[in-house]
């Protein structure tokens, strides 16, 4: 390692020192600005998305009550446009919930396996494979859902078409598993080894240690892992756009086609004219999504902070 050159040089003249201080403070200012930029970006995202949706207040063609309680999404109707997103909210929640039903046991099971039952090269290899799972882009997941998973679902169930709730839940589960595994494994790894040693010394075997000692000790981290997975599933766009079937009805069975909030924006934004009610409503859906994920992430963050304080 090299020492800073200024330290092995004779004292500088006053002017040079002044110049150095100026350099130091300006670079520090720059670093601080960049650090603060993420707050700025979050505020800007909220501002710009909200700004386009704002004129809806006082717009006679639109009512907030209808927005949240109607299942009729007919933005291009000739007679009367209706903008009800209830079916899409139900769609988003059902696909998120169902995918978590797959992803949480699998993800936490894999996290336990990686952290407690497996060592050395096997562990490294499995971790890399799961990381690669995270690298597959969502448009490719959509493609896989449409071409591979969908036909399988049609074959194995009585689904009418391959693009439905079940297909997209499987995709979302596979997409949100990597974050659950990696955060879950980190939180299990963060439990001190002395806990494990104490438990084993008392005669508990490995599973009893995991179940009775590690799970309670790491529960905040595991919960945060699940919440991050939920956040990922709510916000996913391309895969659900291609594999949900795009039907604005409340699903009644596992293999009904659905539609999500994200997919609605993605598919209709290209065709609306700027400033129309339809355009503003799409931005309002954006605000709604922003609020939903913000809430989930905020809770996840508070939960993680909980561990740091108690642990």
């Amino acid at each position: 390692m090299r020492l800073p050159e200024s330290d092995i040089q004779p004292p500088r003249s006053a002017r040079k020192r002044w110049a150095m201080d100026l350099g130091e403070s300006s670079i520090e200012m720059l670093i601080r600005l960049c650090g603060w930029s993420s707050i700025l970006f979050v505020l800007m995202i909220f501002f710009f998305v909200f700004r386009e949706a704002f004129p809806l207040i006082g717009n006679s063609e639109f009512s907030f009550k209808e927005f949240f309680t109607s299942i009729n999404w007919r933005p291009t109707s000739e007679i009367r446009e209706t903008y009800g997103v209830l079916a899409m909210i139900v769609g988003t929640l059902s696909v998120t919930g169902l995918s978590m039903l797959f992803a949480v046991p699998l993800g936490l099971g894999a996290a336990v396996f990686l952290s407690e039952f497996c060592t050395g090269h096997v562990k490294e290899t499995l971790k890399i494979v799961i990381e690669l799972l995270a690298a597959i882009p969502s448009v490719v997941w959509g493609f896989i859902g449409y071409m591979v998973v969908g036909p399988l679902v049609v074959e194995w169930t009585d689904a009418a078409i391959g693009v439905n709730l079940l297909t997209s839940s499987i995709l979302l589960a596979l997409m949100s598993v990597p974050v659950i595994v990696s955060v879950g494994e980190d939180s299990l790894k963060a439990v001190p080894d002395s806990f494990r040693e104490a438990s084993v010394a008392l005669g508990a075997n490995r599973w009893e240690t995991i179940y009775k000692v590690l799970f309670p000790a790491a529960k905040n981290g595991l919960l945060a892992a699940v919440l991050l997975g939920v956040g990922r599933a709510i916000g996913e766009t391309m895969a659900v756009l291609m594999a949900t079937g795009h039907s604005t009805r409340i699903p009644h069975s596992l293999v009904d086609p659905i539609r999500t909030l994200t997919a609605t924006i993605a598919s209709e934004m290209g065709e609306v004219s700027r400033g129309s009610t339809h355009y503003q409503v799409l931005f309002l859906i954006g605000v709604l999504l922003f609020a939903m994920t913000f809430l989930v992430n905020l809770i996840a963050d508070l939960v993680v902070r909980g561990i740091r304080k108690n642990g």
Binding site: I31, F48, L106, L133, A135, R206, L228, G270, N297
Partner: protein
């Protein structure tokens, strides 16, 4: 005397079941994905060739290759990198080296976490409102790159912060005691020792940028914008104020917008996109493993 009681046998059985279940769950994730990827490659095989990569899409995208979207993705990735890497690395330095442990820093890191959690389609709406309309960039490569930069910023910030935190505090103390200022310490001691981690984060960010579709959907990507197939114009075809083609969007287009595309071509495009991304992120993972094994302290 040493024979196990029924209760102990049961305990051991439960432990075995739990271990096997966890193993099966892991395999349930790993095996189908590897199987699907293999299936994709097998189905794409007939269409994969050098010509497929080097040709423009032709004949309403029903034939030809993926050259134009591939180049578009490269342009997008580099421009995004040029914008987000400096800001992200400096922000990571701020959070790890300058920020004190107070409420304001908590707000900053909460903002980073939330920025990472904002759905990609909301980023797209933001990019459309901010860059395309308000800043007047129009649907262009620049607007798409700016949108993508905001989206990938948290990845760079988080990985930079982790890489910096891995440098032992004693290194910094030694340097400060020599009379070096904060920035001198960072520049000469902290950054050289954490370069590997920062680099890995940046490369992983590249792979994410290459695959994303939603944020560029309304901010710059178009269905079709062919490029020259030879000469200088084939390498740098898109100027920053023009719309462009991208691999991810091209796959989406082939699947949903154009009729009569052969399945081989769709599979081949998907495989090319996955291959590109796995190449980049595989490189990052390899680099990280190598550097971890060669750490000097």
């Amino acid at each position: 005397m040493f024979s196990s009681t029924p209760r102990e046998k049961r305990r051991r059985k439960i432990e075995r079941i739990a271990a096997v279940t966890c193993f099966l769950f892991t395999m349930l994730l790993v095996v189908p994905v590897l199987a699907i990827l293999t299936y994709l490659v097998v189905r794409a095989w007939p269409a994969l060739s050098l010509d497929f990569i080097l040709e423009n899409p032709q004949n309403l995208m029903q034939s030809g290759g993926i050259w134009a979207p591939l180049v578009g993705t490269f342009c997008l990735v580099w421009l995004t990198l040029a914008i987000s890497a400096p800001i992200g690395i400096l922000a990571g330095i701020y959070l790890n080296e300058y920020a004190r442990d107070n409420w304001f820093t908590r707000v900053v890191s909460l903002a980073v976490v939330n920025l990472a959690g904002v759905p990609s389609i909301v980023h797209a709406l933001f990019g459309f409102g901010a860059f395309v309309l308000t800043l007047g960039m129009g649907k262009s490569l620049l607007a798409a790159s700016c949108t993508m930069s905001v989206m990938t910023l948290p990845v760079i910030i988080t990985s930079t912060r982790e890489a910096l935190a891995a440098v032992p505090i004693s290194f910094r103390m030694a340097c400060w005691n020599m009379g070096a200022t904060r920035w001198q310490t960072i520049r000469t001691i902290v950054l050289p020792n954490s370069m590997s981690g920062i680099l890995t984060g940046v490369i992983l960010q590249i792979s994410r940028t290459a695959g994303e579709t939603a944020p560029i959907l309304f901010t710059g990507v178009v269905f079709y914008a062919p490029v020259a197939e030879s000469g200088f114009a084939s390498i740098l075809p898109y100027s920053v104020d023009q719309p462009f083609m991208a691999m991810s969007m091209h796959l989406f287009t082939l699947m949903t917008q154009v009729r009569g595309v052969s399945e081989e071509m769709q599979y081949a495009t998907a495989v090319a996109l996955v291959g590109l991304i796995l190449l980049i992120s595989g490189g990052a993972i390899g680099l990280r493993t190598w550097l971890r094994n060669h750490r000097r302290w």
